[in-house]
């Protein structure tokens, strides 16, 4: 068992002498990192960053790349649009966004130029629209854990493979309360004293405002389906970031289980933030699917020690690192918290 291996390893390490070794001199040049899910019906959003050479003195801080030229191109390399740089300072990678709505069953190229670095190109095809029947949802217990079960039928694309990815996130929400007093709108949090004095007076109007944040919690998901490609990664009783299926031209019905612990927040526990639950069923391009399959392995076991074989991530960026995937998604939004 992985646990057994790690436990034994822990014991051996505790009895071992640790010494720091200098990293060997690095080789190669830093590369531009590009992440994007080009999603049908949405505008392009592309994250750009830089890799770091592993060499003496390296740390895990990453620079933003505000000076990139990020272009969305057609198959024939004609320009669709140049994406604009987002100025949100909380971003961990630089985010470039477009204005053109992306179409299903369409080929797109992405070209990223960062001064002084190699140009990165990548391409993908957004899968065609697909149909999912949500047959049922129910709360239940799976291997001792409370879960929310999604009973789904996913219809196939005639004559072609479809790569299905299912995942669940909880998006944090910020709840703000306001009150209007003498025609002026005040934040309850900022003017708490005033609010306490006037809240019962006639004419005071109290309103609530919910803002969804750029902050997510990944909710573990499960499957019991032996046809899931998660079988290539681990056991079916384990939890995953996403459940992955390769669909071969036939509809299939399956159950997606998401961990129910995080569905609703609890002030006391702070296990999960207050927010909404987003359950995605995505049809993705093959390159993105291959990336996610290896990404799942890496998240489970980064392989950064000499006892475990490293897993190499698949990517489809030429001249850089990262992945540009085409996605056509169906989203289920669940509200368990009072917002």
């Amino acid at each position: 068992m992985r646990l057994m291996y790690l436990t034994v390893l822990s014991i051996l390490l505790l009895t071992a002498c640790e010494s720091e070794l200098p990293l060997p001199p690095g080789n190669g040049q830093p590369r531009v990192v590009v992440y994007s899910e080009l999603t049908a019906g949405q505008t392009a959003e592309i994250r750009v960053g830089k890799s770091k050479i592993v060499q003496p003195g390296v740390d895990n801080a990453f620079d933003l790349v505000p000076d990139a030229v990020v272009q969305l191109l057609n198959r024939d390399s004609s320009l669709i649009e140049t994406l604009g740089f987002g100025t949100d300072t909380s971003n961990r990678m630089s985010v470039y966004t477009g204005k053109v709505k992306l179409n299903p069953n369409t080929f797109y190229r992405v070209k990223v130029d960062v001064p002084g670095m190699r140009t990165v190109t990548s391409f993908t095809t957004i899968p065609n629209n697909f149909k999912v029947d949500l047959l049922d949802t129910s709360r239940t217990i799976l291997n001792g854990r409370p879960v929310l079960q999604f009973h789904l039928t996913i219809h196939a694309q005639p004559g072609q493979r479809q790569y299905i990815v299912m995942e669940a996130l909880k998006q944090s929400a910020q709840l703000d309360s306001f009150f209007t007093y003498n025609g002026v709108r005040y934040s309850v949090a900022e003017y708490e004293d005033l609010y306490e004095r006037v809240k019962d007076q006639p004419g005071v109007v109290i309103t609530k405002d919910t803002t969804f944040l750029n902050d997510y919690l990944r909710i573990p998901v499960y499957t019991q389906d032996e046809n899931a490609d998660n079988n290539q990664i681990g056991g079916l009783n384990e939890n995953y970031n996403s459940i992955l299926f390769t669909q071969l031209g036939k509809p299939f019905t399956t159950n997606l289980y998401i961990n129910a612990t995080a569905l609703s927040s609890n002030q006391v526990e702070a296990i999960a933030p207050k927010g909404r639950v987003l359950v995605y069923v995505k049809s993705v391009s093959k390159e993105y699917y291959d990336f996610l399959l290896t990404y799942e392995k890496v998240k489970r076991n980064p392989g950064l020690n000499s006892l475990i074989q490293a897993v190499q991530l698949r990517n489809n960026t030429v001249g850089g690192l990262g992945v540009v995937g085409g996605t056509n998604q169906i989203l289920y939004q669940l509200y368990y918290d009072v917002l």
Partner: protein, 865 residues
């Protein structure tokens, strides 16, 4: 010569040889009939005992009525004729040929009557001879001109046996053990045997105690690592790696029973108790046709039979372990037993402190062997082995941050019943029924928090096991000294249950999956022909091993040809070439390189083909005066349908469908080996150097490009020396060096996808001590295994003092120091992986090396009687 005599004495011969004579008995020896003729008729009979086997028993038909007919009858088949010359009868050899007769029997130790494996039996003039087999049996044809043969073996005083033998029947020879204070002698006098080819190592047992070891523990597999081509994964690991092959590619046979897990204490020590072992053989190439089932090597270990004459005992105590051994006759000269027991003492001696902090651990081994002599030609052997490791780690220990109680328990059980039989002086056969079981049990009590007020209490139990039952027959037919046939076959029933997990957790809506079990039949047949040609200069040994696997939904067959060709030069030199094809039907899926019992043994299935290897070798060898021997080997091994997985398997999860995680690929290993061994005298030792490459290639790993195998070591060197200062005092030193192991170091790191999107994952619940530790980067690997760890090397010194040489009770004190210059060798090297105590968001990334052994002294005391 005979024709000349005939011409001169035609007349008189008629009268002397036609003289009426009827013997008193129809049965007797040749000598008794000759004497009776002389006594009764008064005719003098002249003969030479050097070519006439006088004690041979003969049977007359009853129709012989003259001296001539009686002599013709008793000399029939001997190539000797009677001729009458000048009133005498001469028994003369036919002029055209030298006559041969066959000697056979067992070579045994004088005191204990235990059979001796690998003893040399040879004509000291021609140096032609043979070697006793695994049951101590030999067959040798000698010319009637030969009047002496020599029996010798490492550690025994040689015996010179005059010929012809004193009586008809088996010639059993008893060798007395050398004084144990004498310097080790290795392989003296056995140069002529094809058995001792370059890729074959018959390790002197003295190596187990001659050289310093980690904590003073005798270890069979670590001792084999002194030889070229044999290495280990990690410093002082008993994980034996042969010529770039994995540990699972070695066929370990304990008294003929396959062993599936060979490591105690995570591979730091092997399960083979050095005190119970009688003979250790390692085949690296030119595999005899009787062996099959693994790709890289065969390690054939035989345990002691026990003395038929008197009881002996031995006890060894060290600060870490104790062992005891007793052997002797249950019925004198009929039934013997050998019983040995070894146990770690850490839990007894340090239980209150050390184990409270780290957990409870112990291991033990039991070896039992019973030998029954049915008669001179038949013996029965019953052997049994059990080895057990047990480790208990409680969640309340203060040193290891765990939330659960763990109980690990793994064991091997083997037993074998053998019947060895001499069918005729030229035919020896043995039939063996075996049972082998590897059983790995893991129990866990965990509390998994589900919410603030709710937790999941998990009591889980996992089992992974292998169970084999087999019957095998091996037969040797010695046609003559230059021609020997071996053939046989067997059937093995495999029962594998790689993953079986049960828990108290209500499965709820989940799918209940039964533990997968595999039942399969493996059949094998083999034949081998060993021929000496061109006046014994050329030796050719072709062989064929046929293997077949039958399992539900899958069936595979495999023809595995073997060939060994050796050309002998003058001055004890030879060149040898060999080819071996091998097939492996069971596979070990393993992630770590430490010898954990988490290794999963799985069968070939409909989707997973048997692994195959094709190895070629070319060797040159030379000896000098039986003191020194040297060999240079080159090898190339091609591997196909290799099985691996690039994910961590959960062996205690019925839902972990291992077959979907297995990928197949290929590999090739090549290299050169050099061995120089000093085998006699006060100073003895071994120097070995290996230059090797091992590559692997899988479609879905490393972009389909080849990469160095995790066990690839470019240079391996070992130097071990022993000097006998005085008869009762020796000093030894050994130095081992191995190039650094391959390690995949990221060339670059880049932002993690989830981290970049502000997706956090602390609600993870993964069963890992590192579950709450989330790195913000992904590694980019330019190539697998592109970086090398630091080399592993250590110098060890030891000394042994023997006391009570003239007394019945003997004492041996061994002491030494491991890794005397305190080299911190890499056990694990990690890139940022285990620095999870760092809570800073931004921190420097480092390589961390963990070393297990620094300078470690040892002290052992042995008591023998």
């Amino acid at each position: 010569m005979l024709a000349g005599f005939k011409a001169q004495s035609q007349h008189s011969s008629d009268s002397i040889l036609s003289r009426p004579f009827t013997p008193d008995h129809s049965q007797g020896t040749i000598l008794s009939f000759i004497q009776e003729i002389q006594r009764t008729t008064g005719i003098a009979i002249s003969y030479s005992s050097s070519f006439l086997h006088l004690n041979k028993k003969v049977q007359l038909h009853g129709t012989e009525k003259t001296t001539g007919t009686v002599l013709n009858a008793i000399l029939q088949g001997t190539g000797i004729q009677a001729a009458a010359v000048n009133g005498k009868i001469f028994l003369l050899r036919e002029s055209s040929q030298t006559q041969y007769y066959t000697l056979s029997g067992f070579v045994r130790e004088e005191n204990s009557k235990e059979v001796i494996i690998g003893a040399s039996i040879y004509d000291p003039i021609t140096r032609r001879g043979t070697v006793s087999n695994a049951f101590g049996f030999y067959t040798l044809q000698v010319p009637d001109t030969c009047n002496l043969i020599v029996f010798s073996h490492v550690g025994y005083e040689p015996v010179q046996q005059k010929l012809p033998p004193p009586d008809e029947g088996q010639l059993d020879i008893y060798l007395s053990a050398r004084n144990f204070l004498q310097p080790v002698v290795v392989n003296a006098g056995t140069e002529d045997s094809i058995v001792l080819h370059a890729g074959y190592i018959n390790m002197p047992l003295s190596y187990l105690s001659s050289f310093p070891t980690l904590l003073g523990e005798k270890d069979v597999l670590k001792s084999l690592q002194f030889y070229p081509g044999a290495g280990s994964s990690l410093e002082s690991s008993s994980n034996l790696l042969i010529r770039g092959g994995g540990a699972d590619q070695n066929l370990y046979l304990l008294d003929g029973v396959p062993i599936y897990h060979t490591g105690h204490l995570f591979g730091l020590f092997s399960i083979f108790n050095g005190d119970a072992v009688k003979d250790v053989s390692l085949y690296k190439d030119a595999f005899p046709a009787r062996y099959g089932g693994r790709l890289s090597s065969v390690v054939d270990i035989r345990t002691k039979d026990g003395s038929m004459k008197e009881w002996h005992g031995k006890a060894v105590v060290s600060p870490l372990s104790g062992s005891a051994e007793i052997d002797g006759p249950i019925i004198k000269d009929r039934t013997s037993m050998s019983l040995s027991f070894r146990r770690s003492l850490v839990d007894y001696l340090y239980g209150n402190n050390y184990l409270k902090n780290y957990g409870n651990y112990y291991l033990y081994d039991i070896n039992l062997k019973l030998t029954q002599v049915i008669n001179d030609k038949n013996r029965l052997y019953l052997s049994f082995y059990k080895g057990q490791d047990k480790m208990l780690i409680s969640s309340d220990n203060p040193k290891i941050l765990l939330f659960d109680d763990y109980d690990f328990s793994w064991s091997n059980i083997t037993s074998a019943l053998k019947w060895a039989s001499v069918v005729s002086p030229r035919i020896f056969t043995n039939t063996t029924v075996t049972y082998s079981r590897f059983y790995n049990l893991f129990t866990q009590n965990s509390m998994i928090p589900l919410s603030f007020n709710d937790s999941l209490y998990v009591k889980g139990q996992g089992v992974s096991r292998v169970r084999d039952m087999a019957i095998n027959n091996e037969t040797e037919f010695t046609i003559n000294n230059t021609h020997k046939l071996s053939f046989g076959g067997g059937y093995t029933y495999h029962n594998l249950a790689p993953t079986a997990y049960s828990t108290n957790i209500a499965i709820g809506i989940g799918v209940k999956r039964e533990a997968p079990k595999y039942f399969m039949s493996e059949l094998n047949l083999y034949a081998e022909d060993q021929m000496s040609l061109l006046d014994d200069r050329l030796i050719v040994r072709p062989g064929l091993h046929l293997g077949a696997l039958i399992q539900k939904g899958a069936g595979y067959t495999s023809a595995q040809p073997r060939l060994l060709v050796r050309w002998k030069f003058n001055h004890e030199q030879y060149i040898e070439a060999s080819y071996s094809a091998m097939t492996q039907f069971v596979h070990q899926l393993t992630t770590p390189v430490i010898n954990l019992p988490t290794d999963l043994w799985v069968p070939s299935t409909e989707n997973i083909k048997p692994e195959r290897s094709y190895s070629y070798s070319l060797a040159y060898g030379k000896k000098w005066n039986n003191d020194w021997r040297m060999s240079i080997d080159g090898y190339y091994k091609q591997l196909s349908d290799l099985v691996t997985t690039n994910t961590v398997l959960n062996i205690f999860d019925n839902s972990d469908l291992w077959e979907k995680k297995v990928i197949a690929g290929s590999g090739y290993n090549y290299g050169a080996e050099f061995l120089l061994e000093k085998t006699k005298g006060r100073f003895t030792g071994i120097f070995a150097y290996t230059l090797a490459w091992a590559w692997r290639q899988f479609d879905r790993i490393n972009g389909g490009r080849r990469f160095p195998y995790k066990e690839d070591r470019r240079h391996t060197l070992s130097l071990a020396m022993k000097y006998q200062f005085k008869p009762n005092w020796s000093f030894s030193a050994s130095w081992k060096f191995a190039s650094g192991a391959p390690f995949t170091l990221p060339q670059q790191i880049y932002p993690d996808l989830d981290w970049a999107r502000h997706i956090n994952g602390y609600l993870d619940e993964r069963y890992s001590p590192f579950s709450t530790y989330q790195v913000n980067y992904l590694p980019f690997f330019a190539g697998l295994n592109n970086y090398r760890l630091h080399p592993v090397h250590h110098l060890d010194l030891g000394t042994t003092i023997y006391l009570g040489n003239k007394s019945r009770f003997k004492h041996i004190i061994s002491a030494g120091v491991y890794n005397i210059y305190n080299r911190p060798n890499p056990f694990i090297v990690s890139f940022d992986q285990f620095s999870y105590f760092n809570n800073d968001l931004i921190y420097p990334l480092q390589l961390y090396q963990y070393s297990l052994f620094k300078t470690l002294p040892y002290l052992n005391y042995t008591f023998k009687f």
